[in-house]
């Protein structure tokens, strides 16, 4: 099939990436000449850039069908469109929450925003990756930006340690990914995911399984699946909370896309093999994530293990290996991001200059000190526990449904049992906030009106999407099919 002509009309599908690259340059220049004199101005500009970016995406990248560009390396489809908009939103909200936090720690610098934007570009490249090369490009662009963000607070020893761990382990994972890709390339002779999908159709080929193993390990590492999760709690705990918020949200979209493009599309022919590999990973992830979370006394660390547990659910969607399963995984990912934004947002708002509200006991009696934060956090916790009327319930329901459709009785039983275990530590947070009395010494919480309004809207979304789940469920089904 001849490639379509590279004219402007066709390029419009790639406008989000093109725009974002330009925006990064603008922000960088602005920081160099204006922002360094007026701290905070770069942040405002970045938010503005993100809003314009979302508008550009809506105007030019709203494709109705699969469009393959750049010699088959790049794909634009309705899924990519939705994921990119979600990533815009997630990054914008997380930057909005972080601003006062960064200022209080003297790390409100323009470079932070530049790194965030280049991470976003990495996310976009991954979302639209249609060849092994683009996949790797996206993975590295995202990872390198995020390593730097974790280490952004130069004064903090734990942050440096976390960044180091993340970097070393991440590099190994990247190596695994490259190695696996090289084997697959050697077997198929093509880098294009479409080509690989055509070439690999017979399962149980030893060579393919070898390559696949490395690819699955790398994907599991990026997602934080057990036993490749070791970096995640340390990074979540060690990084400045604003960075934890960032890496806990938008990159999840990219890793969902990574798994979908690479496994569900490129390696669809050998799905029997990779679902067999993912099944024990998913079960281990669910069990370890949920049980270890119980033992944590640091809220960020607890949420890190909760993230791992949630990754287990997302993997279950892939284990189902059907469009319905991918829909469930997509829905779960989006819901997870919404809730992670809210819960890490509360941690950020509860922190003050010189005080990190990251221990569980810092939340004692939060209801009295700040009803909005407590209510938002309680809603996030009930949602992740999967209790209606909050949106997390539908995410779990959708995963169960996908598993039933593929007759995975035992996985349903394990997932159900693990959601009960999970409920325990989510309830404990509610207990601390609502049933315990606040110690006198804790500082007041704050946050500007706009930030608090955003948090309120975030919480409201968790509730409204829980009562009326049809639109988002429909959207996810539509873009996957």
């Amino acid at each position: 099939m001849p490639e379509p002509m590279m004219n402007l009309h066709v390029m419009a599908a790639a406008s989000p990436e093109i725009y974002l690259t330009a925006a990064i340059c603008v922000v960088l220049l602005f920081e160099a000449f204006v922002g360094s004199k007026r701290p905070g101005a770069t942040g405002t500009l970045t938010l503005l850039m993100l809003v314009i970016g979302a508008a550009v995406t809506v105007a030019f990248a709203d494709v109705t069908q699969r469009t393959v560009l750049f010699d088959g390396n790049y794909i634009a489809d309705p899924l990519a469109y939705v994921l990119k908009l979600a990533a815009f939103l997630a990054v914008a909200v997380s930057l909005l929450y972080s601003r006062a936090y960064l200022q209080n720690r003297d790390i409100l610098k323009g470079e932070y925003y530049v790194l965030a934007l280049s991470a976003l570009l990495g996310i976009f490249v991954l979302i639209s990756a249609n060849s092994l090369l683009t996949v790797y490009l996206g993975v590295e662009l995202l990872a390198l930006s995020v390593y730097a963000m974790v280490a952004f607070d130069r004064e903090s020893g734990v942050a440096a340690e976390a960044a180091m761990k993340y970097f070393v382990l991440g590099a190994i994972a990247s190596g695994m990914l490259l190695y696996g890709m090289s084997i697959i390339y050697g077997l198929t002779g093509t880098l294009s995911l479409d080509g690989i999908a055509v070439a690999l159709s017979a399962p149980n080929n030893l060579g393919v399984i070898l390559g696949l193993t490395f690819v699955v390990v790398a994907v599991a590492f990026k997602m934080g699946a057990v036993p490749f999760h070791m970096w995640l709690p340390d990074v979540y705990e060690g990084a400045p909370t604003s960075v934890t918020l960032f890496i806990g949200t938008a990159p999840k979209i990219a890793y969902f896309a990574l798994a979908l493009r690479l496994l569900a599309h490129g390696l669809a022919g050998v799905s029997v093999d990779w679902t067999a590999m993912l099944t024990p990973l998913a079960v281990l992830t669910l069990v370890i994530g949920n049980t270890v979370a119980i033992a944590q006394s640091n809220l960020k660390r607890m949420l890190a293990y909760s993230t791992i547990a949630n990754v287990g659910f997302i993997l279950l969607g892939f284990v189902a290996g059907t469009p319905s399963g991918y829909t469930a995984a997509l829905y779960y990912t989006l819901v997870y991001i919404l809730v992670a934004l809210g819960s890490f947002g509360v941690i950020i708002l509860a922190s003050r200059k010189g005080f990190e509200a990251d221990r569980l006991e810092d939340y004692k009696g939060l209801y009295r000190r700040d009803p909005l934060l407590a209510l938002a956090m309680a809603m996030m916790m009930f949602s992740t526990a999967g209790v209606p009327p909050f949106v997390g319930f539908w995410a779990k329901l959708r995963i169960f449904q996908a598993l039933w459709e593929t007759h995975h009785l035992w996985l349903v039983v394990i997932a159900a049992a693990m959601s009960v275990v999970g409920a325990f530590y989510y309830l404990r947070v509610v207990k601390l906030m609502y049933f315990d009395e606040a110690p006198e010494t804790l500082p007041e919480t704050a946050g500007s009106f706009g930030v608090r309004l955003t948090l309120g809207l975030n919480a409201a979304a968790v509730f409204v999407l829980g009562v009326l789940p049809a639109p988002l469920l429909d959207l996810c089904t539509r873009v996957i099919h």
Partner: protein, 504 residues
């Protein structure tokens, strides 16, 4: 208006609860009155529900339906039949005394207290009126949140332990039920309960689904051996929480057996009915003995609740034993009638008893039986009520407690002599623990100075206990209207439960 009567019953209390919450603790005066008006309005809405209820059909009435999630064929579908209608009325009826009982007593975060109960009321009506399984589950689980907060915020010293135990126990049961519901959705392509009831299922499937339902409903009833959350929850919960827990939430387990287990997996029920009956009889006898040794009034009534709910599950599952011993379903309806009457009656009586304990607790701040004695000398009117409810709890003829137990024992005779002999032990045990409680608390000489200074019921307390006493007596003397309302639905249920759904 009839089209939306049920919706109104659900959303009016919830909306009122949210308004009370928004009014906040500063405007608690207005909040209190609004709560009272809303709960009375919900009760008033039950009048057309009862008056215009057609007692000649088993079909769902007051049907209200709108698409909810079209892709899943899940609807916002409401409706009532003879089984759910009385339970909805009970819900509306029991919320009013809870609001009144908290009037001057709750001083800690009162606005949230009222809001929690009003929201609970709406959600509970939702559970009983949903005809879509997903909607049912939605309400069923959502209800846990306000109850979790009620016990956790206004409860006693070990409230945190009790409320987390309560939540996790019920949540454990429910998630497996959810898994079963989704399985049936995947098979039938719809979430409507009616489509589940007509869905053919192999015996293996039915057994798994039965197990999932059993877990959910047995925890909620609660049946031995998964009952241990209840005494803890009751002891720690504030009076209102105990009333709602005993009067209504436990009924959801019984309702679940009647609405889901029996009609959806009749073959598994037929095969495993001995399990349910054995557990029920253990609840009746063993828990009766356990109740006998309690030192704490609330704990005693909690155990008494478990024993009484044993009658509900016993009555519901007698049908298969009756068919086996007589070859016909004649008399099976009587067991289910008994189960239903027992639920309504126990709702009134246990609620009233918890309110009685609340009256004493508000004055003495103790629930220990040993701290009381001779209350009748200082609180004669209260003593009269307490004795009446205690006698009703033992199943004295003329009170509602008699009707349910009598019907179940009568039906169990048809099934097996031993069932009825064992069930009848409750007449002795129930009398023993209840009357001994009354003897130690109410009668005898004044035990100590605190009792000597007790003041009798105030107008507010007299009003709620009086109303409940009236209901207990009316239902005991003239149960006919209730039985008539249930008749067609029970007959329909008997047909469904006796049928087989195994595809041939």
């Amino acid at each position: 208006m009839h089209d939306h009567l049920l919706s109104l019953l659900i959303w009016l209390p919830i909306a009122a609860g949210i308004v009370v919450l928004l009014l906040g603790e500063r405007n608690i005066g207005a909040g209190r009155w609004l709560s009272l008006i809303a709960s009375l309005a919900a009760l008033a809405l039950c009048v057309p529900l009862m008056m215009d209820f057609n007692t000649h059909t088993a079909a769902f009435q007051f049907v209200d339906s709108a698409p909810w999630i079209p892709r899943f064929h899940a609807n916002y579908a409401l409706g009532v039949d003879g089984i759910s209608m009385p339970l909805i009325v009970l819900t509306a009826l029991m919320t009013v005394p809870v609001v009144i009982a908290g009037w001057n007593v709750i001083t800690k975060r009162p606005a949230q207290y009222y809001a929690a109960f009003l929201i609970m009321e709406g959600l509970m009506v939702g559970v009983f009126s949903a005809t879509d399984a997903l909607l049912f589950y939605f309400f069923w689980e959502a209800m846990l949140i306000p109850m979790f907060l009620i016990i956790g915020i206004w409860g006693g010293p070990r409230r945190v332990y009790a409320t987390i135990k309560f939540f996790l126990y019920t949540f454990l049961g429910s998630v497996f039920m959810l898994a079963a519901l989704i399985y049936m959705y995947v098979k039938s392509g719809s979430y409507s309960i009616a489509s589940f009831q007509s869905l053919p299922l192999t015996l293996t499937e039915q057994r798994w689904i039965f197990a999932a339902f059993m877990l959910a409903f047995a925890v909620k009833v609660p049946m031995w051996p998964v009952h241990t959350w209840l005494p803890d929850a009751h002891v720690e919960a504030p009076t209102g929480g105990s009333v709602i827990l005993a009067a209504i939430m436990l009924k959801m387990g019984g309702y679940g057996f009647l609405r889901f287990s029996l009609p959806i997996v009749p073959d598994a029920c037929r095969q495993l009915d001995a399990l349910v009956i054995t557990l029920s009889l253990i609840a009746v006898i063993y828990i009766g003995f356990v109740a006998l040794v309690q030192q704490d009034m609330k704990k005693l009534i909690a155990y008494s609740s478990i024993a009484h709910m044993g009658f509900v599950t016993l009555g519901a599952f007698l049908i298969y034993a009756i068919v086996r011993s007589t070859g016909a379903t004649q008399g099976a309806g009587m067991g289910m009638d008994g189960a239903m009457v027992q639920m309504i009656s126990h709702g009134l009586i246990s609620g009233a008893l918890f309110l009685c304990v609340g009256v004493l607790y508000d004055r003495m701040h103790s629930r220990q039986i040993a701290d009381y004695g001779g209350v009748i000398n200082t609180m004669p009117v209260f003593a009269g009520f307490m004795v009446l409810f205690a006698l009703a709890n033992t199943g004295l003829p003329g009170t509602s407690g008699f009707v349910g137990e009598f019907l179940v024992i009568l039906a169990s005779f048809k099934a097996s002599f031993w069932y009825s002999a064992l069930a009848a032990v409750t007449l002795i045990l129930g009398a023993a623990y209840t009357l001994w409680l009354v003897k130690r608390v109410v009668f005898g000489p004044v035990a100590n100075d605190h009792v000597a200074h007790l003041s009798d019921l105030n107008g507010r307390e007299f009003l709620i206990l009086g109303a409940l006493a009236l209901a207990v007596l009316v239902l005991g003397i003239w149960p006919e209207p209730l039985l008539k309302v249930m008749e067609p639905s029970i007959q329909h249920l008997v047909t469904q439960a006796a049928a087989t759904k195994i595809p041939v």
